[in-house]
């Protein structure tokens, strides 16, 4: 196969815990949240730490990651994936600009913003 032609990603929804993320996303900044008590980063971003219930704060992340797993829906032209971020947490995302036949678990990937009818959403492409 060759590089798959990617589908149009549907618009994201948002709530008060995600609004700041998408405002930053539209400016090209990829933010994650880290606990001020236990210091651990988590995903998906929450105001309350999922490890210790401590308070959390935003920090800008590198956008570097590795593919933990993926599954390509050939008929729908997209690839569902979990990517483990350099900062630690593993996040659900879509892989874009890939050849599904040569993509491998463990592959290095980098952040790639995709504009939807709502905001930019964080996808990943081969690094």
């Amino acid at each position: 196969m060759a590089i798959m032609e990617d589908r149009k990603i549907p618009p994201n929804c948002s709530n008060p815990e995600s609004d700041a993320f998408y405002a930053a996303a539209d400016e090209g900044k990829f933010m994650i949240r880290r606990c001020t008590s236990c210091k651990k980063a988590h995903w998906y971003p929450r105001a309350v730490c999922p490890f210790c219930f401590g308070a959390t704060e935003w920090e800008q992340a590198s956008g570097e990651g590795t593919v933990y797993s993926f599954s390509t829906m050939l008929r729908s032209n997209f690839t569902m994936a979990y990517v483990t971020l350099k900062e630690g947490p593993t996040m659900m995302t879509n892989l874009i600009k890939i050849d599904p036949e040569t993509m491998k678990i463990g592959a290095k990937v980098k952040l790639a913003w995709v504009q939807t009818d709502a905001n930019k959403v964080p996808c990943f492409e081969p690094a």
């Binding site: 990603i9 549907p10 618009p11 994201n12 929804c13 948002s14 709530n15 815990e17 995600s18 998408y22 651990k40 980063a41 988590h42 995903w43 998906y44 971003p45 929450r46 730490c49 999922p50 490890f51 933990y68 797993s69 993926f70 599954s71 390509t72 829906m73 050939l74 008929r75 729908s76 997209f78 569902m80 994936a81 979990y82 483990t84 630690g88 947490p89 593993t90 996040m91 659900m92 995302t93 879509n94 599904p100 678990i105 463990g106 939807t116 709502a118 959403v121």
Partner: protein, 389 residues
């Protein structure tokens, strides 16, 4: 406090329909309820506990209880997806043991086939009130691709193959050929499974369960009532529940909540894996079965592929007969929720009422286990162990 021996399954009924365009969902629930009561030798007026889940539309159990006009002292509508009804047996046993009710009715029904629901591949709208939705829904976690990621990771970690997964479907099809109500009755081969169209890598069409209309019901009663009835005694021995999610970002797709719910059920029942003569294992996909068998302790983690191969799950052939009704892969997956049919076939086996071609000889201890929701993102997990008294 344990529920071991404190409740019995006295009635079980699987609706014969697999496509019901002319019936309403509540009608199917009531037909299943009537069927299970008749099977037990009880009547509607005997019911004082009612258990349902997300397939019963309306406000929890209220609208459906009103349709059936039940008089109740106990109600529970815990929804953890398709496994809810396996957990409901444990909840019913606990309520009976606490004196809250005597005759518990559990129902499930739905008609996704008639409604044309794209269960495994359809896109779902976002709901910002659900905390994970702003982060995930636009990435389209359609059921097949989330289970596909679990299969892909299992293959990566343990060398599991598509051919090994295919054996699970092959075993189910061997059983379904004897079930006159099964949606798919053709026996298939490993080659046919791995050569069927790819739906979401690495899962093929024949790795996926069917979409069917229908339903089922169970009657759980206190011991004195069970002994007053004419049906074989199927005793609740143990039950375990759990769930598993993304763990704050520490995602690990190599195991499921069965690791916890299974351990709890085995501990409560005092039964060992080697005592289980028959196992109903939730089969939304072939990978679901493989993961659960490992996590329930029927084989070592990572050895599931080897365990399911060469017909080891086929009744009369292998060491662990599973889903002898044909399961969700071939027989029935009503309302996209396979929990209740898992309990129903376990009851048939323990009563000696399974089809003679698949009946397990001297079947005295059985297990029913299910995964609800999405194995690869967040799922409920329920395990039930039953014994023929």
């Amino acid at each position: 406090m344990s529920i071991k021996g404190k409740a019995y399954i006295a009635g079980a009924f699987e609706h014969p329909t697999r496509k019901a365009p002319d019936k309403s969902v509540f009608q199917l629930h009531a037909e299943c309820a009537a069927g299970a009561l008749a099977d037990a030798g009880l009547t509607k007026d005997d019911v004082d506990g009612y258990f349902c889940a997300g397939d019963a539309a309306g406000m929890g159990p209220i609208n459906i209880a009103d349709y059936m006009n039940l008089r109740l002292s106990y109600l529970d509508s815990t929804d953890v997806g398709g496994t809810s009804y396996i957990g409901a047996v444990g909840h019913a046993a606990a309520a009976i043991n606490a004196g809250k009710c005597n005759v518990a009715l559990i129902t499930l029904s739905g008609r996704p086939r008639s409604e044309g629901v794209q269960t495994g591949t359809g896109q779902r709208p976002g709901n910002p009130q659900v905390g994970d939705s702003p982060w995930e829904t636009h990435f389209s976690p359609a059921t097949t691709n989330v289970y596909g990621m679990v299969a892909a990771r299992h293959m990566h970690e343990y060398g599991t193959t598509s051919e090994q997964l295919a054996w699970i479907k092959v075993a189910a099809s061997h059983h379904a050929q004897w079930n006159e109500h099964a949606m798919l009755r053709n026996v298939v081969t490993v080659e046919e499974v791995v050569n069927s169209p790819m739906v979401s890598t690495p899962l093929h069409r024949l790795d996926c369960c069917i979409i069917s209309d229908g339903g089922g019901a169970l009657i759980v009663v206190k011991p004195e009532i069970a002994r007053s009835l004419k049906r074989p005694l199927v005793k609740v021995m143990g039950h375990g529940e759990s769930w598993k999610g993304q763990m704050g970002g520490d995602v690990d797709l190599t195991y499921s909540g069965a690791r916890w719910s299974g351990a709890a059920a085995f501990a409560e029942s005092g039964v060992k894996q080697s005592d289980i003569k028959y196992a109903s294992i939730y089969d939304s996909f072939t990978i679901t079965v493989l993961m659960q068998l490992e996590d329930l302790g029927f084989c070592e983690k990572g050895q599931g592929g080897k365990f399911v191969s060469d017909g080891n799950l086929i009744s009369g052939v292998g060491k662990l007969p599973f889903n002898t009704d044909g399961g969700g892969l071939c027989n029935n997956h009503p309302a996209n929720r396979g929990g209740i049919t898992k309990v129903i076939e376990a009851v048939r086996q323990l009563r000696g009422e399974a089809h003679p071609k698949v009946q397990v000889p001297n079947c005295d201890v059985a297990l029913a286990h299910g995964t609800g929701g999405l194995l690869g993102s967040r799922h409920g997990s329920s395990t039930l162990i039953l014994e023929r008294e």
